[in-house]
């Protein structure tokens, strides 16, 4: 455990001293702010339109900030994660290989699992900060309106688990190569595939369709953004993270059998 923390600490430091982290975080918050502003403006417009209609009062009942502002905001942020998480994770192993520090790590008396876990934890702290900062939008809604807090928290949990899943995928992509661009593109493509794999579900057969739907990350994060925390989704995210970390461990270890 001590080795894991040592590696996590160094990883976190190196993320925070590199400009990439600040560019990514600023970009994430800037886009988030833009989404939030526009969704809020649209919500405002709808409210004023409905209130001027006859019988609009009934329609007004169905307008709520969870569904019209927060849910689309979290959906948009999930898409942004697909692009930004690979920018953070592309360095994790690729950079070590390129600079030669990989030899130090692998000839030190630490297990490969400890290296993988440490790197995961270090980067996870960064992503936690990044996702937590978007909580400001939720806080603004809670301050000026009355969103359903439970639904909001479920939605943020969904976004966070999505970020961690992408982190595990990005690390795996980085462990395959010493080229950061290749690592970023590979990670991005795997993440996008997991996003859209559900599209085939409707035309595929019943069983295959169900499998595809279950495999798709967006299926589970949407559920949570809607406010439903299903055990099925939690199991999905947990097994995704563990599975991609396992592949990362194998990929690092593979230097020993190639």
């Amino acid at each position: 455990m001590r080795n894991v923390l040592t590696i996590a600490g160094r990883e976190l430091r190196s993320i925070f001293v590199s400009p990439i982290a600040y560019v990514v975080m600023t970009g994430f918050l800037l886009l988030g702010g833009w989404f939030f502003f526009n969704l809020l403006a649209r919500f405002n417009l709808l409210v004023s339109m409905y209130s001027s209609f006859q019988g609009g009062a009934e329609a007004m009942q169905r307008l709520n900030v969870n569904e019209f502002v927060l849910a689309p905001l979290l959906h948009n942020l999930s898409v942004v994660l697909v692009i930004l998480v690979p920018m953070i994770t592309m360095r994790s192993f690729a950079e070590e290989k390129r600079s030669g520090t990989y030899e130090l790590l692998l000839t030190s008396p630490v297990g490969i699992w400890e290296i993988v876990l440490g790197k995961f934890l270090g980067t996870a702290v960064f992503l936690t900060v990044m996702v937590a900062l978007t909580g400001i939008y939720g806080a603004i809604l809670a301050f000026y309106g009355n969103p359903e807090l439970g639904i909001m928290l479920a939605g943020y949990l969904g976004l966070y688990l999505l970020a961690l899943t992408f982190l595990a995928i990005g690390m795996f992509a980085s462990s395959l190569t010493e080229n950061q661009i290749i690592a970023a593109v590979t990670g991005l493509v795997i993440m996008l595939l997991l996003f859209v794999v559900g599209w085939a579900a409707d035309t595929a057969g019943e069983t295959l369709g169900a499998v595809l739907r279950y495999t798709s990350v967006i299926e589970h994060s949407s559920e949570m953004i809607r406010g439903v925390i299903d055990t099925k989704s939690l199991v999905y995210f947990a097994s995704m993270i563990a599975g991609w970390m396992f592949l990362t461990e194998r990929s690092v270890e593979s230097i020993r059998w190639r």
Partner: protein, 260 residues
Amino acid sequence: MIEVHDLTKRYGDRVAVAGVSFSVARGQVLGFLGPNGAGKTTTMRMLTGFLPPTSGTARVAGFDVFTQSAEVRRRIGYLPENPPLYPDMTVWSYLTFVAKLKGVARSQVADARERAIARTGLAAVGDRLLSHLSKGYRQRVGLAQAIINEPEVLVLDEPTIGLDPRQIIEIRSLIKDLAGERTVILSTHILPEVSQVCDKVVIINDGRIACEDTLANLTREGSLEEVFLRFITADTALAHERDATPPGEPDQPPPAGHGG
């Protein structure tokens, strides 16, 4: 202390190291000599547990490098050809990190770091970023990193490459200092280095051992340069004979091996 037996590394069809055997006694400094691409780096990577051998065995301090890798890694300090430095760290924070990574007890980390800094003469640059250091200092940090957990065995891959003459002299005397009780394997293709630092010499050519002897024995009849050239030429000729190259053909250069 180090027993290497019939160690072989193949990359696909290409043989980088072919059945290398040698041994180093405790406290000896072994000069690992050979032309570029002879298989020096590959052999050292196998000894440090970074690469697994295709076949053969190597034992360090009685532990097998493949099956008891963790025990071996705990006892070896390794300076790869490019010092494994994180450019965004200071000397001080880097050495703290490495000390923890190598399992130095929490209460001893600061001591180990200060000791390594003192021995490698880094006190003046402790708070500088590694990316801002000159090549000589980077090499020193590499050495400090290798000795920080007081390993019994030091493996140094071309520690003086790319340094200016003054730095070379400094690093050499540093290695002599560090050797002391330790067993050291030092790879190089700079011959004077060997005569100054080493007790024993292994010459490797084209993945095979061309010669293994003490420095005193080898230099009895001539300078190390002559000995080196004689062995390399004889060995390459032998290899050609083995490959049944028709006589009279111009000498082919030895195939480029992996690493240095």
